[in-house]
């Protein structure tokens, strides 16, 4: 679809807003509907959208495979380490109360990092699935 000028221009504009919306959903998750899951899917959708318009190689240049794989591991790791931080600060695993000076602030802080981990992993997983399925079969074709 590289040849459709309208799509290409609109895509570039839209992708910025999609990512912005993903961040909104992410950070608003504390107060309303939203959170890492949704934000992760939306941000992955932005990249997938880019791949559909500009082609998989272009998307792979922007978000390379190693980054995707690192993302899906790093998010889990971040989540798990927040739990470990709870232990190190004298609470139980995944204990957010001890993360801040007062328990409410601790809860906010804990959920923020956990949701960030979720965002990274979900985005990574979505991209990984897309890359793997979309890239299947085309690898054998000679580069045009």
């Amino acid at each position: 679809m590289k040849d459709y000028l309208v799509l290409r221009v609109v895509a570039k504009i839209l992708i910025a807003f999609m990512l912005l919306f993903a961040l909104y959903v992410q950070f608003h998750g504390d107060f309303g509907p939203g959170g890492g899951f949704q934000a992760g899917v939306i941000s992955a959708a932005a990249v997938i959208f880019y791949a559909i318009i500009y082609g998989l190689p272009a998307a792979r240049a922007v978000v390379p495979d190693w980054l995707v794989e690192t993302m899906l591991a790093a998010g889990v790791l971040l989540y798990a380490l927040v739990g470990v931080a709870g232990i190190l600060l004298g609470g139980n695993y995944l204990d957010y109360f001890v993360l801040g000076a007062d328990p409410v602030a601790g809860q906010h802080r804990g959920i923020f990092w956990v949701e960030l981990g979720v965002l990274i992993t979900v985005a990574g997983v979505m991209l990984k699935i897309f890359y793997v399925f979309a890239g299947r079969g085309s690898e054998e074709e000679p580069p045009s």
């Binding site: 690192t70 899906l72 591991a73 790093a74 790791l77 798990a80 470990v84 139980n92 695993y93 204990d95």
Partner: protein, 493 residues
């Protein structure tokens, strides 16, 4: 300080290792990590076992949310016994794995193999320690999904189909389980197993509870491969990479047995399960069918690994038979056989991995006379086979003794005779291997083979030695099983 966090560390250590392996992207580094977490799991589970061996339990509240609102990890001697078993097997398999992985997994995927192994380990240990019904489902799926991947990594293309079939049946099993949990949740309003047990006593509408019992039984039976729900097992074991077969055969079905026991005794209470419904009789019939039919099928297999896979189905029958006898002795027999069979079958599949590495093929027709060229491997298989038969001074004998005793105490000598008669079928298929390995003249291809490498032989023989040691000194295995059986029999506190 660290000792109070043992239940969660047991799960989290391998769970953290998995993403680290992905980030490192190196097979060798992943292996080192895999060894580290496996031995850490062994150490932690051992420490937990020591903590609870005398009775009582350790509770751990995730996020400091007290039960029943938060997720509780609740470890008593039953959980600790299972966790210890998983730890032992993981420690051995992790040492064993590099040669098998080197030969069977392509270089770019090796770190992913260990990632999946760490996730599977984490899931299995999670099942063993969690005290929350839904959390248990999540861990069940973590271990299942990773084991589907591990099986699909096998070299043979049939491994793919085996993994697919396991995925379908495993998911159906897990979904049945979760339906059962949903019904229990509707009836009791809690997901904490201990809390659920307490509230079930006051439930006025038993039909939903009995339906839940049925769903959970079927779902878990699928995962533990109770005959005739075993259809996924033979192919999955036969075509998975060697290290995976050994690991799964020794742990996955055993952990599912634990889930069944936990629900039967700790949640529903033995009286509901064995008196309101004829669960004992149903299990008895399927166990006996497993012992005889699966053993008979094993005799006619052409693939050695598949033969021992069918033998696993039969041996699971012994375990569930112990459960079905529903007495202190029977339960002890079932639990001790969980441990004993894990040691035996783990050792056997590890040794078969050596043959797979050297000979490539696992068909009887292509390994004739292999006993002459791989003496240590084959002698190990013979000893493991003797344990399957139940020859004294092996662990298999201890299980058999208690099973027979439980059957006699129940006043059913015919069950006792069924137990010993079915071990004759084991004699037949083990002897089939012996005759092929020792009495056939090795052909040119077999003669050219060498003994398996020490890195595979040492862990496998460590398990074989354990098979014999724990056949003579049963303090740990039988003591643990008896304590666990007592904990289960006396029911929810």
């Amino acid at each position: 300080m660290i000792s109070s966090h043992l239940p969660i560390l047991l799960v989290v250590v391998p769970l953290i290792a998995a993403p680290v392996m992905v980030i490192l992207r190196s097979g060798a580094a992943a292996w080192v990590l895999a060894i580290a977490v496996s031995w850490a799991a062994l150490a932690i589970s051992g420490a937990l076992f020591v903590q609870v061996a005398g009775g009582g339990h350790v509770s751990y509240f995730l996020g400091s949310w007290p039960a029943p609102w938060g997720i509780e990890y609740r470890v008593d001697v039953v959980n600790a016994y299972l966790a210890l078993l998983v730890g032992v097997v993981a420690a051995v398999v992790s040492v064993y794995s590099p040669r098998s992985v080197l030969a069977e997994i392509e270089p770019g995927r090796r770190y992913l193999f260990y990632t999946m192994y760490a996730l599977c380990l984490s899931g299995l240990l999670g099942i063993a320690v969690t005290g929350d019904a839904f959390n248990l489902f999540v861990f069940l799926e973590i271990s299942s999904l990773s084991s589907y991947v591990l099986i699909a990594l096998g070299r043979d293309r049939r491994a793919l189909m085996a993994a697919y079939q396991y995925l379908i049946l495993g998911t159906i099993g897990a979904t049945f389980y979760v339906i059962g949990v949903g019904m229990l949740y509707l009836a009791t309003g809690t997901l904490n197993l201990a809390d659920m047990a307490a509230r079930l006593a006051g439930v006025s509408e038993p039909r939903a509870v009995l339906a839940a019992l049925a769903f959970i039984t079927v779902g878990v039976s699928l995962k533990l491969a109770l005959f005739p729900l075993h259809l996924w097992l033979p192919n999955a074991y036969a075509y998975a990479p060697s290290a995976v077969t050994a690991f799964l055969a020794a742990t996955a079905t055993k952990v599912s047995v634990y889930v069944l026991l936990r629900y039967y005794y700790s949640v529903f209470g033995g009286s509901t399960v064995f008196h309101a419904l004829p669960m004992g009789e149903i299990l008895l019939v399927f166990s006996l069918a497993a012992m005889f039919i699966a053993s008979t099928i094993a005799i006619f297999q052409e693939n050695v690994k598949r033969m021992f896979a069918y033998s696993s189905v039969a041996q699971i029958g012994y375990i569930t038979l112990g459960v079905a006898l529903a007495s202190m002795t029977g339960l002890t027999a079932g639990l001790v056989h969980v441990f004993n069979h894990a040691l035996t079958k783990g050792a056997l599949f590890l040794l078969l991995g050596g043959i797979a590495l050297r000979a490539g093929a696992m068909r009887f027709g292509s390994i004739g006379g292999i006993g002459r060229v791989m003496p240590l491997t084959c002698f190990g298989i013979v000893l493991g086979g003797l344990s399957l038969i139940g020859v004294p001074a092996t662990v298999g004998f201890v299980s058999k003794w208690y099973l027979v005793q439980a059957a006699l105490e129940r006043g059913s000598p015919w069950i006792a005779f069924a137990v010993v008669a079915s071990s004759l079928l084991a004699l037949v298929y083990v002897w089939r291997f012996i005759e092929v390995a020792y009495f056939r003249e090795p052909d040119a291809r077999v003669s050219a083979l060498r003994e398996a490498p020490a890195s595979m032989l040492v862990p496998a023989w460590a398990l074989i030695a354990a098979c014999i040691y724990f056949g003579i000194d049963t303090d740990l295995t039988l003591g643990g099983a008896a304590a666990a059986a007592w904990e289960l029999i006396r029911g929810p506190q």
